[in-house]
Amino acid sequence: MLPTAALTAGRFASSLSQFLGKGSGEVIGGRLALRIDPQLLARVGRTRRSVLVTGTNGKSTVTALVAAALRARGRVVTNATGANMPDGIVTVMASDRTSELAAIEVDEVYLRPVVDALEPQVIIALNAFREYTRGVSLAATLEHWRDVADHLPSDSVVLANADDPLTMWAFEGAPRVVAVEGALGWHGDAALCPACGREHQWSADGWSCPGCGRRRPDPAWRIETQLADGTWLIEHPLGSEAVRVAVPGRTAPIGAAFALAAGVEMGIDVRATAEAISRVVDVDGRYFPFPVRGRSARLLMLKNPAGWTEAIDVAVTSGSPFVIAVDPFGPKDTTTMWEAPFRRLSGRSLPVTGGRAADALAVLEASQVDGAEFPDASDAIAAATAGEGSTGEVIVACNYPAFRRLSKQFRASMQ
């Protein structure tokens, strides 16, 4: 028996919020439905076999790749729009009652209620960085994950980032943990061992703790190399697999490794999983290169210093032209930019655009990097210049509202 009245009420609010232009509508609809019946998520979701994806950075990308992997087996319900709190997940689940598989992105501080409701087969834990907008401490998130690990279904598996000591520690209590090479571009937040408080040591072999002896486990899924044609070779216990992912930087092979591992844990043939992943071209408009003034522009959404650091790294290593797009969304809207290493882009002149362009120029000034403001984003993209060895694709580094605005604008101009 499905709770029809609650869902209908939720769906009405959902379309209302879409009409009012308040985001995707899923959050408002789901929140109302949950208020009516707190057991709703379990009732609309538990019959499916599900993979949950959590962590601070990269959830949407990995969720899209996992959804693609699962499609090799059957129909998949997924929250591709990023509504990743329990109420948003209710709405997504309620909108698709027939798919037997689920690939669900879960906000890292809401993992416990979602795990309890869905009893997932696989949990992917990507990373744990400090959070800048909600005032939730990293310690509180890690404690929450420890609690989740103690309450996972006994037949579930956690695919955890071998390179993040905080994530590995948080899921120590899980029934089964498989380590995946997930990288950690920003060590600042993982400086201290969460188990004993000593300072981690970092070497070519990864992290280790001189206090309690914890160290980076050998990952079962490893990123081997990038082949000449752009595909990545992922090594795993059964052999190795070539995967092509249309995502820039290290995000591509990392996401592919997690998605491959999830597919195999869900009982799908590894080769079929790799082929399904390689067919993904877009992740929520996140990496789709939009044609703008004869150039190809990729939008990246960045919300913490780790994200900005990775975007700058992609620009430096690929030589890609780099544009900054930042819009206002409250007092902290550009706070996270100040800790990122923009000085690595010195020698370039970076176009900046958006309602907080002045802040971006101030950040660049402090890093002794030249910048110029363009009121129109297309002008900024047209003005971006490439570094050495560039393929010419422009990276547009956005904060959240600028990402929303520009993806909508560029998508509309394509139609």
């Binding site: 005032g135 990293l138 300072e199 706070t335 660049l364």
Partner: protein, 254 residues
């Protein structure tokens, strides 16, 4: 002074608020005067850190007890009291330096006691704030954000750093922070020393004995700050002092 040692103290103990950019901002202002700076981040308790400037940050009261415990394991207090170091503290860091602080449950704990004031839980409104110029300290109108998750009661004789006005609450103005000889504290968050170089210079002057030359202008930083202050000034209930900011007045429609 050949090299200025700047230490960011225990940033992982508290909730992240973007205060860590303050270290690089200070170093840059020092370098503009030909003073090289050495930056370090201290995470492990018990270490002796011979810094000239200590930086403390964090948002609200979360993690303050941990921060205090870790600071007690260093010689920060002795170095500040004996005139060998200066400390600049933001919000949670300021609470850690006060005589005492009281959390949501009402339990009172002792801080380091470098600031003669007590802290208790505030209303937690998050907003961008602009400050009134403080000519005695050489500070212009500055900008930052406050979460007001803590409230400070200064004891007699303790001097506030400045007065602020916010966007959201429209509160007429409130006193902010503390300024003493070798202790400067504020509830202004974000890259506050980067966006307000005059405040960075105030911290530097307290740490460097020699006369400081004027720094090179930073036009983009000035512009970013001016735009944010204009947003605060454009809110409906501007108090009389807003005219002192020297900003263009918002035109009335109709």
């Amino acid at each position: 002074m050949t090299e200025l040692a700047i230490a960011t103290m225990f940033p992982l103990a508290t909730v992240a608020a973007g205060d860590e950019a303050n270290a690089t901002a200070l170093a840059r202002r020092a370098q503009l005067r030909g003073i090289q700076a050495r930056l370090s981040t201290v995470n492990t308790p018990g270490a002796e850190v011979a810094a000239d400037i200590y930086l403390l940050g964090g948002d609200g009261l979360s993690g303050v007890s941990d921060l205090v415990a870790r600071l007690r394991g260093t010689d920060l207090k002795e170095r500040v009291l004996s005139g060998r170091a200066v400390v600049f503290a933001v919000d949670a860091g300021m609470a850690a330096l006060c005589r005492s602080w009281r959390d949501v449950s009402g339990e009172r704990s002792h801080g380091l006691g470098l600031i003669d004031a007590d802290v208790h839980t505030g209303h937690g409104d998050l907003e961008t704030v602009a400050t009134i110029p403080e000519t005695g300290l050489g500070l212009p109108a500055m900008v930052g954000w406050r979460s007001d998750a803590l409230f400070i009661s200064r004891r007699p004789g303790v001097r506030p750093l400045c007065a602020v006005r916010g966007v959201k609450t429209g509160s007429p103005w409130a006193l902010d922070g503390v300024v003493a000889d070798r202790v400067i504290a504020t509830q202004l968050h974000g890259p506050v020393l980067a966006l307000n170089p005059e405040l960075a210079d105030l911290v530097l002057r307290r740490a460097i004995d020699a006369q400081m030359s004027d720094a090179a202008p930073a036009p983009h930083t000035e512009e970013a700050r001016a735009r944010r202050i204009a947003e605060v000034a454009a809110t409906k209930r501007s108090p009389p002092w807003i005219e002192h900011l020297g900003l263009p007045r918002r035109r009335r429609k109709g």
